[in-house]
């Protein structure tokens, strides 16, 4: 990979967890305030790309353990199941929103939409990293 400065190297180690937390924060607030799964997923992938720029791709891959590609089917499945849940559980049409009665601290009401958005997050994260890792490995 490219030569990197020690500043970026050091910073990226601290930025990675912060950016990841931020991406989850963006994901969770999406229903009430600007944010959502799509942006969240993009931010999470940017976090890892930054890390790979600073430390080299193989280091990032070691950190990840699992290839991000595996998260694509997982995310798709979560999204699909959250749409399927009302059909199976309550005999409602596909993708009807289900909502909890009581609100949870910080998150507010939890609904099937949140799980749908989590699926989107995982797919976007997986797709972006898969594409960028693949290209940077073979380009």
């Amino acid at each position: 990979m490219m030569r990197t400065t020690i500043i970026l190297k050091t910073a990226s180690n601290y930025l990675l967890p912060v950016l990841l937390l931020f991406s989850i924060f963006i994901l969770l607030r999406g229903h009430y305030l600007p944010g959502g799964g799509f942006v969240g997923g993009l931010i999470a992938s940017i976090a890892f790309i930054l890390h790979s720029f600073a430390n080299g791709l193989h280091k990032t891959k070691e950190l990840l353990v699992l290839h991000p590609g595996y998260l694509i089917p997982l995310g798709l499945a979560i999204s699909f199941l959250s749409g399927l849940a009302p059909v199976v559980l309550y005999d409602l049409p596909f993708m009807t929103g289900l909502w909890s009665h009581d609100s949870v601290a910080i998150l507010g009401h939890i609904g099937s939409a949140l799980f749908f958005d989590m699926g989107v997050y995982l797919v976007v994260y997986g797709v972006t990293l898969t594409i960028i890792f693949t290209i940077s490995e073979s380009a």
């Binding site: 999406g30 940017i46 999204s79 939409a113 290209i135 380009a139």
Partner: protein
């Protein structure tokens, strides 16, 4: 009944997992499935003979009137018995014919799927399910014809068969939609009662043309006949099963099924007589010019199909009886001859009829089967073939049209068919055994028993025609809307004109067999006329089509991103510009525009600077970074106009785009080839026009009165119904969640595509395998 149809499909799925067990000695067990189905359908024979019609219906897509309705009547019964009965013999035969073949399990899988599709086809009472099964037979036949997938002619023939029958399938779908439009139903039984309404409709002719298109392609009628000889590249069991006994008769079935609905009009009957007549005579004559046993049989099959179409065209009760009997006759003798050909090919390693003789000495039972079949095919008493031929002559001589012409055509056809049957069934087994094939040995029992059984049945039914009369022929004629009470099949009709014609046929045909020997000379003689045959015309058309499409592709899909982009922009400019110039008045309401702020001016300046830098820099990397600057400036504009969601997404996307570009560019060679001035000016003008048009469009949109019903609906209901305050996100995950679902699926596909292109490369050994010598 649904289970019966699905059994074939389930078995082929089962083979995917358990294929190993069916490759060895157990493979013959696969034939238990068609046997079981045969027994299942056979138990209905009595009930059908008593005039019962058995219907089962299952809901499929009730909202569109598409249901799985299966109807077993006299017509379906004959076909189901043929499919399962001959299926059983073919399955058993295959276990020995392809013994030890690497992909025997695959073969059984295709065969079983085909059987299921074929059963579904002849039992469907709903046109949409009929179409579905129709296409499934084409697809499974594609796999079977191309079974030897390492040989190029095999693959080509498979493609051609799929192409021709596939087009027919689409015509059938079009016919379904047309009839649905006229009658409001897809059910064939219901159409039966609306026959007058269909015939009276102004599009009746179109419906007939579409049904003809489907039937003629499937049943290899002139000029679509040429895929069938090509399909003979398939292993012999496939030729026996699909291309003589069952699949090619699907077109006949379709015509018979629609006879009560569409028949009786001139356009229906005359066309069928003409097409059937041309086909039967043309291909019967063709048999003389072939030396490959399978080629002879292929052309005689086409000819037989022509006879059936011809008989349906005659449209009288006698003709239907003749057709019913002839279907049985043909299935019995043609399947026998094909199976025998397979045995000869398997044991003597040649199908060249000029080289074959005297095989009687090594495989007597096979010879007996073949000679019995030849007798039946020649219509010589006491075979069922004789009964069938008498009926055909009888029906033809009572036709109201040009009787002499039709009689001549059918008698000539029969003479040539007799010749073909003799060449295929008798020639290889008589005379002296030549040197080249003297090492041929007696085949296995499961190979010679099926043809012998079929050949014997051909004689047995001839001696005792009542065996098929009550259970099969009468119900079939009843299903075609005629009264079957008067039918009596007999071997002996007394001395009359028909008997004289029969005598002429047998006499001349036999003489022809002794005079005319198949030879290469004849084969090459016909080869000279090849250039005007429908097959070569189609091939030329295909070549032209390929040329045109490659030219087209090279012009539009030339692989240069810049050309794609300019093509898209040019198209947009032309379309939008045309509409805007013609229809809109350019009114700009300056009062509705807000005042510019200082921050907006700064962003705009940055934007322009970025654009200029991108255009004029000589470094790729710098251009990419400048593009990033442009993207980010646009994000800032989104922020000013309170679209934070959009801005956030755009920020991340732009960042990632720059990263992607850098990753790719980093590996590109340093050398940069700049485009010349002319191209730059051209592109500049195009971009400028595009920019102006988009700007004008945006201003026009602002000038239009705002209709914000949908927007308001989302805004009003986001919290009430979806418990969310961020309307954009609620739209994404709730109101239009299904769209998002599809979008993330598309994203996943893109990722798989990139991964596949970059990471998975064909191994060298595989690459060689797919390349042809």
């Amino acid at each position: 009944m649904l289970t019966a149809i699905l059994t074939g499909f389930l078995f082929s799925v089962f083979l995917v997992f358990a294929g190993r067990f069916f490759k060895g000695k157990l493979s013959i067990l696969a034939s238990l499935i068609p046997l079981g189905l045969f027994v299942y359908f056979f138990q209905f024979v009595n009930r059908i003979a008593n005039g019962e019609v058995i219907t089962r219906s299952y809901e499929w897509v009730p909202s569109f009137g598409v249901n799985l309705v299966f109807k077993l009547d006299g017509l379906s019964l004959l076909f189901t018995l043929m499919i399962t009965g001959i299926g059983f013999l073919v399955f058993a035969y295959t276990s020995s014919y392809l013994k030890g073949h690497k992909y025997l399990d695959r073969f059984y899988g295709y065969l079983a799927a085909f059987m299921g599709a074929m059963l579904g086809l002849v039992l469907s009472d709903n046109m949409i399910s009929l179409f579905t099964f129709w296409e499934l037979t084409s697809i499974s036949s594609f796999f079977l014809i191309g079974f030897k997938n390492t040989s190029r002619p095999s693959r080509k023939s498979a493609m051609m068969a799929l192409g021709i029958t596939g087009i027919g399938g689409l015509l059938l779908l079009a016919a379904s939609l047309l009839f649905n439009n006229i009658t409001g139903t897809y059910s064939i039984s219901e159409m039966l009662s609306m026959s007058e309404a269909i015939k009276g409709n102004q599009y009746y002719w179109l419906g007939v043309v579409l049904i003809f298109g489907a039937a003629f392609t499937k049943s290899a009628q002139f000029p679509f006949h040429f895929w069938l000889p090509g399909a003979m590249k398939a292993p012999t069991p496939v030729s026996t099963y699909l291309h003589s006994a069952t699949m090619v008769k699907a077109g006949i079935y379709l015509l018979m099924r629609f006879t009560p609905v569409l028949g009786g009009e001139d356009i229906w009957n005359t066309t069928l007589i003409i097409v059937g007549g041309i086909t039967m005579l043309y291909s019967a004559v063709h048999t003389v010019f072939r030396t490959d046993l399978k080629g002879i049989l292929a052309y005689s099959t086409i000819s037989a199909l022509g006879i059936l179409v011809f008989l349906i065209g005659l449209g009288t009760e006698e003709a239907y009886v003749a057709a019913a009997v002839f279907i049985i006759v043909h299935a019995l003798y043609k399947a026998t001859l094909f199976l025998v050909t397979g045995i000869i090919d398997h044991q003597a390693h040649t199908r060249d009829v000029t080289k074959l003789a005297g095989l009687n000495k090594v495989m007597l039972p096979v010879g007996i089967a073949a000679i019995l079949a030849a007798i039946s095919s020649g219509g010589i008493p006491p075979s069922i073939g004789f009964v069938g031929k008498e009926l055909i002559y009888d029906a033809t001589s009572h036709s109201e049209l040009v009787v002499i012409l039709l009689i001549t055509a059918i008698v000539l056809t029969k003479i040539f068919l007799l010749y073909a049957g003799f060449v295929a069934g008798i020639k290889p087994f008589t005379g002296k055994l030549p040197e080249g094939i003297s090492e041929a040995r007696m085949p296995n029992f499961v190979m010679w028993a099926p043809p012998l059984l079929l050949g014997t049945l051909g004689i047995l039914f001839g001696l005792m025609p009542f065996l098929v009369e009550g259970p099969i022929v009468k119900p079939l004629v009843a299903a075609l809307g005629e009264n079957p009470e008067e039918i009596h099949l007999r071997l002996w009709h007394g001395f009359n004109m028909v008997l004289v014609l029969s005598a002429i046929t047998i006499g001349v045909g036999t003489a022809l067999y002794f005079i005319l020997k198949p030879s290469y000379k004849l084969e090459s003689a016909i080869g000279k006329l090849e250039f005007i045959s429908p097959e070569s015309i189609l091939k030329k058309f295909m070549a032209g089509f390929k040329w045109a499409s490659s030219y087209w592709t090279r012009f539009f899909q030339n692989g240069y991103l810049r050309n794609y982009v300019s093509m898209i922009i040019l198209f947009t400019v032309l379309m939008v510009g045309y509409v805007m110039l013609g229809k809109t008045r350019f009114v700009i309401d300056y009062n509705s525009l807000t005042k510019l702020t200082i921050s907006e001016i700064i962003v705009a300046l940055v934007l322009i600077a970025g654009v200029c830098y991108t255009i004029f820099t000589r470094s790729r990397l710098a251009a990419v970074v400048a593009m990033g600057v442009i993207g980010w400036s646009i994000c800032l504009i989104f922020v000013f106009y309170s679209a934070p969601d959009l801005a956030m997404t755009q920020f991340s996307i732009d960042t990632l785009t720059v990263i992607l570009f850098v990753l790719v560019l980093y590996k590109l060679p340093k050398y940069l080839n700049l485009s010349d001035v002319k191209i730059r000016i051209r592109d500049g003008i195009l971009s400028a026009i595009f920019g102006i048009i988009i700007a004008a469009l945006a201003l026009q949109v602002l000038a239009e009165p705002v209709n914000n019903e949908i927007g308001n609906y989302y805004a009003d209901n986001a919290y009430l119904e979806a418990h969310g305050k961020n309307v954009v996100n609620v739209i994404l995950v709730d109101f239009r969640g299904a769209d998002t679902m599809i979008e993330i699926s598309v994203l996943s596909i893109a990722a798989i595509g990139v991964f596949g292109l970059m990471k998975l490369r064909l191994k060298m050994s595989d690459r060689n395998r797919y390349q042809d010598k």
